[in-house]
């Protein structure tokens, strides 16, 4: 396997993009990434497109060649492949792109992620999202995605003394960062009181503990590291790409408050990159629900099991902490266009490693991590990116 570099990045604004179609946002992100990489489209070997549910959300399947076509690239006849893994679809697409370049099957590939959630009513989008958990044995019995994560939260509170305020601080932090991100769905700051007082969704989670339903797209160009200097002055090495899976239903997990898929993916990723959690300076972690972020910090190895709440409260993961998480605003504030999330997380880490993150730039960022989750953890994907000096 050869070293793989990230040569270009692109991203649309995330939010309720009512005036823009799925194909428009997919193409915008892709071209941004190609321009950023200074790469000609005829050099591409393949397109990998992460998407959760275009069939249910825009009644269009077979979307990878659709994007290729409207990008004006159908005449090149290279392969365009859709990748699906619930909320982890984007990160899974990146994993496939990494495999293709690392193995030598292709030299240059585009990895995209796109989702259009606001072409259907919220209730429909939420129903589709609940299909990323076990439909037959969870959703049929009244479970929604936030309800399942609420079950994780309640058990975490029971076992480790995590408080309602510990959860709420995750959302406050996300909006603090989102306010500095021009691409973010939400750019307003939130008070702790506002989060605690929001209407309940699935107790203990309220409306402001949950990431929004967003439209958006993001894209990345990958190529061999040995040729990267030709295309960019600041190549970023994709130092690790790992996928791990677990039981579909939350109730079948070994431990309800641990995502074993995340634990395993992270361990493999750190081994692959020959680094440790202590080396990571910036991380984009899965905060679809506030509890998701606390559990992720523990499962990725950034804090001992059960300690994420108090550590988060101490500021350890804020702008001046030892590790700064979700500088993009995370899923909570930057937005949650399911299939685009995993790609956008890596786009944000690349900005940080290049020193292009503007007001939210973290100083001395040299190694970054991105963590994407499908459903309640049946799939977890961990990527590590490092600056090449």
């Amino acid at each position: 396997m050869r070293d793989v570099a990230i040569l270009g990045i692109g991203q649309t604004r995330f939010g309720e993009l009512w005036d823009r179609s799925f194909r428009e946002i997919g193409i915008e992100a892709g071209f941004q990434a190609l321009v950023d990489a200074r790469l000609s489209s005829q050099d591409l070997g393949a397109l990998y497109l992460g998407n959760m549910a275009s069939g249910s959300l825009i009644a269009q399947e077979h979307i990878a060649p659709l994007i290729l076509d409207y990008a004006g690239l159908a005449g090149h006849h290279f392969g365009a492949i859709r990748v699906e893994g619930g909320g982890a679809s984007g990160a899974l697409a990146l994993h496939e792109g990494w495999l293709a370049v690392a193995s030598g099957a292709h030299d240059f590939v585009v990895v995209g992620g796109a989702e259009k959630l606001t072409d259907v009513p919220d209730t429909e989008a939420n129903r589709v999202a609940s299909g990323t958990a076990d439909h037959e044995w969870e959703a049929v019995f009244g479970a929604t995605l936030p309800a399942l994560w609420a079950l994780v939260a309640r058990r975490h509170m029971h076992e480790y003394g995590t408080t309602r305020e510990d959860l709420a601080r995750v959302a406050v932090h996300a909006h603090e960062m989102g306010a500095k991100n021009p691409n973010a769905h939400y750019r307003n700051r939130l008070s702790l009181e506002a989060v605690l007082g929001a209407s309940p969704v699935a107790e203990p989670l309220g409306m402001l503990d949950c990431a929004p339903l967003s439209d958006g797209a993001a894209a990345i160009v990958l190529g061999p590291l040995e040729r990267a200097r030709k295309f960019t002055d600041t190549p970023i090495r994709l130092a690790a790409s790992q996928v791990a899976c677990d039981t579909m239903a939350l109730h079948h997990r070994r431990d309800m408050t641990t995502l074993d898929s995340t634990v395993v993916a992270a361990k493999r990723a750190f081994a692959q990159a020959r680094r440790t959690a202590a080396d990571v300076r910036v991380a984009e972690i899965h905060d679809a629900y506030t509890i998701s972020a606390l559990v992720a910090l523990e499962d990725l190895g950034f804090v001992d099991k059960g300690r994420a709440g108090p550590e988060f409260a101490s500021g350890a993961f804020g702008p001046t902490g030892k590790l700064t998480v979700n500088t993009s605003g995370g899923l909570k504030a930057q937005g949650r266009p399911f299939g685009a999330v995993g790609v956008a997380q890596v786009v944000e880490i690349v900005r940080q490693l290049r020193g292009e993150a503007g007001d939210r730039q973290v100083s001395g960022a040299e190694l970054g991590l991105a963590h994407d989750v499908g459903g309640t953890g049946a799939t977890s994907v961990v990527h590590l990116m490092e600056r090449v000096n």
């Binding site: 209730t123 939420n126 129903r127 609940s130 037959e136 044995w137 969870e138 959703a139 049929v140 019995f141 009244g142 479970a143 929604t144 936030p146 309800a147 399942l148 609420a150 079950l151 994780v152 939260a153 309640r154 058990r155 029971h158 209407s199 309940p200 969704v201 699935a202 107790e203 203990p204 989670l205 239903a249 939350l250 109730h251 079948h252 309800m256």
Partner: protein, 164 residues
């Protein structure tokens, strides 16, 4: 959801019919075609035996849902729990016959046959298990709401037997 898609699961959903691996004796719910514990030597494939759960268990986590799942809109707020059954398997189901705010981790519960949800005014009505407190302390005096009451004729004979 099509009628067949729900109907084919009725023995499991109406009766809590699980299965057991004859090799390691682990009980599973819902039934599986291969034992995850014994999967390495493949001896369990096609050999898992039907195993009836008692329906008794304990709440290991719970939530009160306000933003309903599809088909549960008329039931909000409703308590949803992960229940650890006496035989081992865990499952997710609503907890009824108790004020949702009184559900706690450790609450002893027993499966009860109820209406789960309706697909609109003209669609299929789904029945299956929910859980109710085992003691009568938590049981509110009023009868179950209309939306949770099964019709007087039980959908199948199998379902009636399971309640006896």
């Amino acid at each position: 959801m099509s009628i067949a898609r729900f109907w084919r699961e009725t023995p499991v959903r109406y009766n809590l019919g699980g299965c057991r691996c004859p090799t390691c004796l682990t009980v599973y719910f819902p039934p599986r075609s291969v034992c995850p514990v014994c999967v390495q030597h493949r001896s369990s494939i096609g050999r898992l035996e039907p195993f009836q759960l008692s329906g008794e268990g304990e709440v290991v986590s719970y939530t009160v849902v306000h933003d309903a799942a599809e088909g549960f809109e008329m039931q909000v707020p409703y308590a949803l729990a992960i229940v650890k059954t006496r035989e081992g398997p865990q499952l997710t189901a609503p907890v009824v016959d108790i004020d949702p705010s009184e559900v706690r981790i450790g609450l002893k519960v027993r499966a009860t046959f109820r209406k789960l949800r309706e697909e609109g005014k003209a669609g299929v009505i789904h029945y299956g298990y929910k859980f109710a407190p085992m003691d009568d302390v938590h049981r509110p005096p009023e009868r179950p709401t209309q939306s949770e009451t099964a019709p007087s004729t039980a959908p199948t004979a199998v379902a009636s037997e399971s309640r006896a």
